[in-house]
Amino acid sequence: MIRFEQITKTYGKRLVLDNISCSLPKGKITSLIGPNGAGKSTLLSTISRLLDADQGKIYLDDICLDDYKSEDLAKRLSILRQSNHIDLRLTVRDLVAFGRFPYSKGRLTAEDQAQIDKAIHFAQLEDMAHSYIDELSGGQRQRAFIAMIIAQDTDYILLDEPLNNLDMKHAVLVMKTLRRLVDELGKTVVIVIHEINFASQYSDYIIAMKDGKIVYNDETDQVVQAHTLKEVFGIDFDIISKNGKNICNYFNIET
C-alpha cells in the first residue's frame, strides 16, 4: 500500500499540493482526475521520488520512501511520465530490456530475457519487437514504454497521462493492458487521466483533486456522479448507466 501524509509542495509562491494525506489501495487501479493545474502530476511525481516534497512523508508498504535504496525502490515502484521523446535509435526490444536494469545492471541473464519476452507478449507487441521506436506511431511507442515498465516487474506502477495523444484504439489497448496487469498479475496501478470515461470504465477507485487538495476519494461509481463532477470540473455532466458502469456526457448539455 502507498500511503502519504501531509504532502505540501510549492513552485515558487504557488501552492501546488496543500497538505494532503491519503492512501492508495493495493491490487487496484486508482485514477487521479481533476482540472489542469490541480496538482495531479505533481502528486504522482512526488510519490515516485521524481520530485521532492517540501513537507510530508510517503510510505511504501509502511516503510518511508527515503529509507529505500534507489535501486531497491526501482524493483518495487515504477513511474512513466507523459513526455517520452527519446532521440535514440533503439528497437522496441532494446527499450523493454532497459526495464531489467534494476535487476541485471545491463548484463541480461536468461531470466531477464524471459521477462522481456513476457512483457512484450503481455503488451501485445510481438510483431513490432524489432522495429525502431522512432519509426513507431505515438500509440505504439507509448505501449512500448508500458512494456518496459512491465518488464521492470514492480508491484506498483504509476503512469502520468498514459493516454495522452492516443487514438481510441490505442487508448483502449493501453487501458485493457493496465486492467490485465491488475487482474492477472496483481499489480497496483495509479494513473493520472483526463478522459473521465476511461477512468469511469477501467478504474476501481477515483481520487478527484482540485486546487492542490483531494476533494473526493472513493469507489469509481461513487465519484462519477453529476454533482461531484460538477464540483470538481465546474461544468454539467449527464450520467448514463450502461452495463453497470457510468458513462458521462458533457457535450452540448442545456442548462
Partner: protein, 316 residues
C-alpha cells in the same frame, strides 16, 4: 556494411595511418626521427581518447548531440590560468614553473572549477543540467574576456608565450609531461569504467534514469568530474581541441548502431585518433607545417557541423 566489418575497417585504418605517420618519408636519421614521431603519436592517442571519451559522456548526460565540454568553459579557465602566470612571471615563466607543475596546476584548477559549478547548481535546490550548462557558458565567457583583457595589457613578447597555449600543437610535448598525462588518463579511464553502464540508462533522460533506480545527481557529479579531468588532460597537453568532439561523436552515432557505452567509447576514441592522426599527417607532409591540425580538424568539423544542422532541420 556489417558492424563487425566496420570495426575491422576502423582498426585497419588506424593501423595504416599509424604506420604511415611513423614511417612515411623518414629520411636517413631514423634514430632522431622515430622517437620524436613516437612521442607525437602517443600524444595524439592520449588526446584522441580523452576528447572522444569526454565528449561522448557529455553528450549523453545532456541528451544533446551538438554539444561538447567546450561549452562549459574549461578551456577558458585553462587559457586564463596560463595568461595569469605569464602576466606574473613574464618571459621567465618556464624558468620559475616547470611544464609538469604547470600541467598539474591546470588540471587541479579545471577540476576545482567543475566542482564549484556543481556546488553552485546542485547545492541548494535540485536544478536541472541545463542550469549547469548555462552557468558554465556564462562563467566561461567571463573568464575568456578577463583573459583577453590581460592579454591586451601584457607585453607583446610575453603574449607570444600565451599564444603557444591557445593553438593546438603536437610539437611542444616533452616526455615527462606525456607520462604524467598518460597516467592521469589511465586513472580516469579505470575510474570511469565502472560507471559506463549507467550512461546507457542516463541516455534515456533523467526521469527514466531515476525510475530505473539510478542516483542521478550523484552520477552526474561523478561524470562532470571525470569530464573535467579528461578535458584538462587534452587541453593542458595540446591546447583547446574539444571541437573535435562533435565530429567524432556524431560519426560514431552515424556509423555504428550500438548504443552500449562500453563499446561506443572505444569506437569513438578510435575515430578521434584516426581523425587527429590524419590531420597531423596532412599538416606535416602536405602543408609542410604551414597550417595547424586544429585548423584542418575545425575546417572539416565545421563543415560536418553545418551538415548536421541542415539535416536536423530537414527532419523537423
Amino acid at each position: 556494411m556489417k558492424q563487425q566489418n566496420k570495426i575491422i575497417v576502423l582498426v585497419l585504418l588506424m593501423g595504416t595511418i599509424i604506420a604511415l605517420f611513423m614511417l612515411y618519408n623518414t629520411g636517413p636519421n631514423l634514430d632522431y626521427v622515430i622517437p620524436r614521431r613516437a612521442v607525437r603519436l602517443a600524444t595524439i592517442l592520449l588526446v584522441g581518447v580523452s576528447v572522444a571519451y569526454s565528449s561522448l559522456i557529455f553528450q549523453t548526460i545532456t541528451n544533446n548531440k551538438i554539444l561538447t565540454p567546450a561549452i562549459m568553459g574549461y578551456e577558458s579557465v585553462f587559457i586564463l590560468f596560463q595568461t595569469v602566470i605569464v602576466f606574473i612571471y613574464g618571459d621567465k615563466t618556464f624558468q620559475v614553473i616547470t611544464h609538469q607543475d604547470n600541467f598539474f596546476y591546470a588540471v587541479l584548477l579545471m577540476m576545482a572549477f567543475s566542482f564549484l559549478m556543481y556546488i553552485l547548481i546542485f547545492g541548494k535546490s535540485k536544478q536541472n543540467i541545463y542550469h549547469l550548462l548555462l552557468l558554465g557558458l556564462v562563467l566561461g565567457a567571463l573568464f575568456q574576456t578577463f583573459g583577453q583583457f590581460l592579454q591586451i595589457v601584457i607585453d607583446p613578447n610575453e603574449f607570444s608565450v600565451i599564444q603557444g597555449f591557445m593553438f593546438v600543437s603536437f610539437n611542444k610535448i616533452n616526455t615527462d609531461l606525456l607520462l604524467i598525462a598518460g597516467a592521469t588518463l589511465l586513472g580516469a579511464l579505470l575510474f570511469g569504467q565502472r560507471y559506463l553502464k549507467y550512461l546507457d540508462v542516463i541516455a534515456l533522460g533523467r526521469e527514466h534514469a531515476v525510475n530505473l533506480g539510478l542516483n542521478y545527481n550523484k552520477l552526474v557529479k561523478i561524470y562532470m568530474l571525470l569530464i573535467s579531468l579528461l578535458v584538462s588532460v587534452s587541453t593542458a597537453l595540446v591546447g583547446p581541441v574539444t571541437f573535435l568532439g562533435i565530429l567524432v561523436t556524431n560519426l560514431t552515432y552515424e556509423l555504428f548502431q550500438t548504443r552500449k557505452h562500453h563499446y561506443m567509447v572505444w569506437l569513438c576514441s578510435g575515430i578521434a585518433c584516426v581523425a587527429l592522426l590524419l590531420g597531423q599527417f596532412l599538416v606535416e607532409h602536405i602543408f609542410n607545417f604551414s597550417t595547424t591540425v586544429s585548423i584542418v580538424v575545425n575546417f572539416v568539423g565545421g563543415l560536418y557541423f553545418m551538415y548536421l544542422m541542415l539535416k536536423t532541420r530537414k527532419a523537423i
